[in-house]
């Protein structure tokens, strides 16, 4: 078993004695493609600069292919690690060929013109990245996608065993992003190069890497396969924004989308909304209400229900019933207390049966007491009570002035809210 490509052993590192990375340990085996993800300021770039020796660790040790980093001379390090930066600019009119040739600056003889072998290496690197036709073009005049291919050709000519990609595709359009990543995959496969990338692009990372390392505040928060790292809860905690994670059934590929903020210039701060939900039907609406700064309460919900779990995770006040049990008078009383305090009541798209129809009765009381009620359309289709009492209750709610909604986007503008100045921060 050969030594791993990269080992971080309890590394603390930073600038001018301010630690950015805190006690970071991980190992990248040779031949892996891994990605380090995390929000701005998480320490991704510092981590990369530690690997390339630009930032010296305050504590801990790093080893590259079994060699302690601090013992490696610059030229030796360059044979082990190469970097594809976010972009490379030069004010000089170097041709593409000259730039690629520079990748071998520490292996070519300075007192001789390039040997046949050197030339062959440059040719191979250019052919590999499909920049041979650009060889006499001036690098500075190429498009961003072409420039990145040339930089990769330069790194291929350098021929390192570990390739670091520093946000290498973030300036590129989707097509060129794919092109570069495919190229990197080939370098990994054909040259056996280990690839460690740093990326803001969670979807790209999930697509191309079998392993993700999630960094936050200089510490590793999660490390593993994309499906274990990219969970909504984990990402929300790290990125402080709501995200949707979806796995495509056919391909298994994971897509992360940040949830839109629904009310950019309004706030529900100080307004209480009670949500009647269950079975995950109220998850989205509770999340968004919470994001819009409403004080959200929920119930009555059964313990163990998806909505209950989410409400608890969001720190909401919930009236909870025992698992799989009909609502008891005691729980209904607890719910009534919450409803009484609320400024409005929202009924989500939950199915109604004999066990939970009592919730709707409570809602009716509230409406009679003069509080606005918002029903999700289509209770009839979700009514499983033997006597269709839910349908009847819904009918009477509508006639008494309850308003209906289809999606959270419809609902939010209907709710009471206060205007707030948009702040830039």
């Amino acid at each position: 078993m050969s030594a791993p490509a990269l080992t971080f052993n309890a590394v603390t590192a930073g600038y001018r004695k301010t630690p950015i990375l805190q006690d970071v340990s991980f190992t990248i085996p040779e031949g892996e493609i891994a990605s380090i993800i995390g929000p701005n300021g998480a320490g991704k770039t510092t981590l990369l600069r530690v690997i390339t020796g630009l930032v010296k660790p305050i504590r801990g040790t790093i080893s590259l292919f079994g060699h302690p980093l601090e013992n490696l001379r610059a030229a030796e390090r360059a044979r082990l690690v190469g970097v594809v930066p976010q972009s490379m600019e030069t004010p000089m009119a170097f041709t593409v060929e000259e730039v690629v040739m520079t990748g071998m600056v520490r292996t070519a003889n300075r007192f001789h013109p390039p040997t046949a072998e050197d030339r062959a290496r440059v040719e191979r690197a250019m052919a590999y990245t499909d920049v041979s036709d650009l060889r006499f073009r001036v690098y500075a005049e190429l498009s961003a996608g072409e420039k990145q291919r040339v930089v990769i050709a330069m790194v291929v000519a350098q021929d390192p065993r570990l390739v670091l990609m520093d946000e290498a595709t973030s300036h590129l359009d989707i097509n060129h992003r794919l092109e570069i990543m495919t190229l990197v995959e080939r370098i990994n496969r054909d040259h056996g190069a280990t690839v460690l990338m740093i990326s803001h692009d969670l979807n790209l990372s999930a697509e191309y890497c079998r392993r993700l390392i999630l960094l936050d505040h200089g510490r590793i928060v999660a490390d593993g396969a994309p499906q274990t790292v990219l969970t909504e809860q984990q990402l929300k905690a790290v990125y402080h924004c709501d995200v949707n994670v979806q796995t495509a059934v056919g391909t298994g590929s994971i897509t992360v989308t940040p949830a839109r903020r629904w009310m950019p210039d309004r706030s529900g701060s100080g307004i209480r909304i009670h949500v009647v939900g269950g079975g995950g039907s109220a998850a989205e609406i509770m999340r968004q209400l919470n994001l819009c700064e409403y004080t959200v309460t929920a119930g009555a919900l059964n313990a163990g229900d998806t909505d209950t779990d989410l409400a608890t995770a969001l720190g909401l006040e919930v009236a909870v019933e025992k698992p799989f049990s009909p609502i008891t008078p005691a729980t209904l009383d607890a719910t009534r207390k919450l409803v009484t305090l609320a400024d409005a009541v929202v009924v989500a798209g939950l199915p109604f049966g004999p066990g939970n129809v009592a919730n709707l009765v409570l809602v009716q009381e509230t409406l009679t007491a003069g509080k606005p009620v918002f029903l999700m359309r289509g209770i009839e289709t979700r009514d499983f009570t033997p006597d269709h009492s839910a349908t009847r209750l819904a009918e009477s709610l509508r006639t008494s002035g309850a308003r209906e909604w289809d999606t959270p986007a419809d609902l939010l503008p209907l709710l009471p809210s206060r205007e707030c100045k948009r702040t830039m921060n």
Partner: protein
């Protein structure tokens, strides 16, 4: 590329030709001096001294300019950017105004060189802040030290007697007055060694122009190369300032022109700039000697007046291979 090779070939073949041309031009008339007569011999050695001096000073300045522009990644960088000119000027002014320069030929270039080296040391010490100095702190401390030296120089000039004043101003405009063969040989070999050392750093200089971090990733000890490169370039600048005073334009424009002609690869650029800069200054000095003969025009005046328009044309035509940003 073949075109840049052709330019290099023209420079290699053209330089001796131009040197010959400069030898037959002089304030005593046009024509090769008659080596059979003592006067002819004297005129020949005088002209040969000037031609050689012009060549080595021009070559050193444009080499240094190339290196400064590459390391500082700044198109306005020139050999005097780190304040070497003011330091050397101060040294020269001291030599002239204290009368030391009249006592021996070596005093003026010697003190100018010492002034330049002291300035360089000061600039590096100020810019050095723990790690390796950044480009900005180098340029800034260069400007600061240079301003201080200039102010002292201006004070000395303002309080100097008239005849001393004339010498100082003349020196500051650039002057290739013969300094004697030993001085030429000393400075010449010093500059040759420096230029060859810089030439041998060409691969590193190429990588550094792709950015300090990229160079680091390619395995270059950037701090070390920056230090060695700047010190060597400043040393040969200091030697040229000692020999010929402050000659502007050559170290700033010749690198740009030659880069536009042969491309930015320093393996070609440095020798081409040395030949181009040397020949250019040699020609300028020939003009300075003959245009208003027997009066001499300061060579620093000629470089810009005649070089300006000519090189402007080249740069316009070859913009695509010149500085891109």
């Amino acid at each position: 590329m073949n075109k840049s090779r052709a330019v290099l070939l023209v420079l290699i073949l053209g330089t001796p030709l131009m040197a010959w041309l400069c030898l037959i031009l002089g304030s005593s008339g046009i024509g090769f001096p008659d080596l059979g007569t003592p006067i002819g011999k004297a005129i020949f050695s005088l002209r040969a001294n000037r031609v050689a001096g012009g060549f080595i000073v021009g070559a050193a300045l444009s080499c240094a300019g190339v290196v400064f522009q590459a390391l500082l990644r700044n198109p306005l960088a020139e050999p005097y950017i780190l304040g070497v000119s003011s330091g050397a000027g101060l040294g020269a002014a001291i030599a002239i105004l204290t009368g030391l320069s009249a006592a021996g030929l070596a005093w003026l270039p010697g003190l100018a060189f010492v002034g330049a080296i002291i300035t360089l040391t000061l600039v590096f010490t100020i810019a050095h802040d723990g790690g390796s100095p950044s480009v900005y702190s180098l340029i800034l401390s260069g400007v600061i030290v240079s301003s201080v030296c200039s102010s002292i120089l201006m004070f000395m000039v303002a309080t100097a007697p008239v005849e001393g004043l004339h010498s100082v101003v003349w020196w500051m405009l650039g002057d290739l007055q013969p300094a004697g063969l030993p001085m030429l040989l000393t400075c010449g070999s010093f500059m040759l060694a420096g230029a060859l050392a810089l030439w041998s750093l060409s691969p590193e200089l190429n990588a550094m122009t792709l950015g300090t971090e990229t160079a680091h990733h390619l395995g270059i000890r950037t701090g070390l190369i920056m230090g060695i490169g700047l010190v060597l370039a400043t040393m040969i600048t200091a030697a040229s300032v000692g020999l010929a005073g402050l000659i502007g334009f050559v170290g700033l424009i010749i690198p740009h022109v030659i880069r536009a002609l042969v491309g930015p690869d320093h393996r070609r650029l440095i020798p081409a700039a040395a030949l181009g800069g040397g020949t250019f200054l040699m020609l300028c000095d020939a003009l300075a000697r003959t245009l208003l003969a027997p009066r001499e025009i300061p060579v620093g005046v000629i470089t810009a007046i005649f070089g300006g328009p000519f090189f402007l044309l080249i740069l316009r035509a070859k913009r695509r291979r010149g500085w891109m940003a």
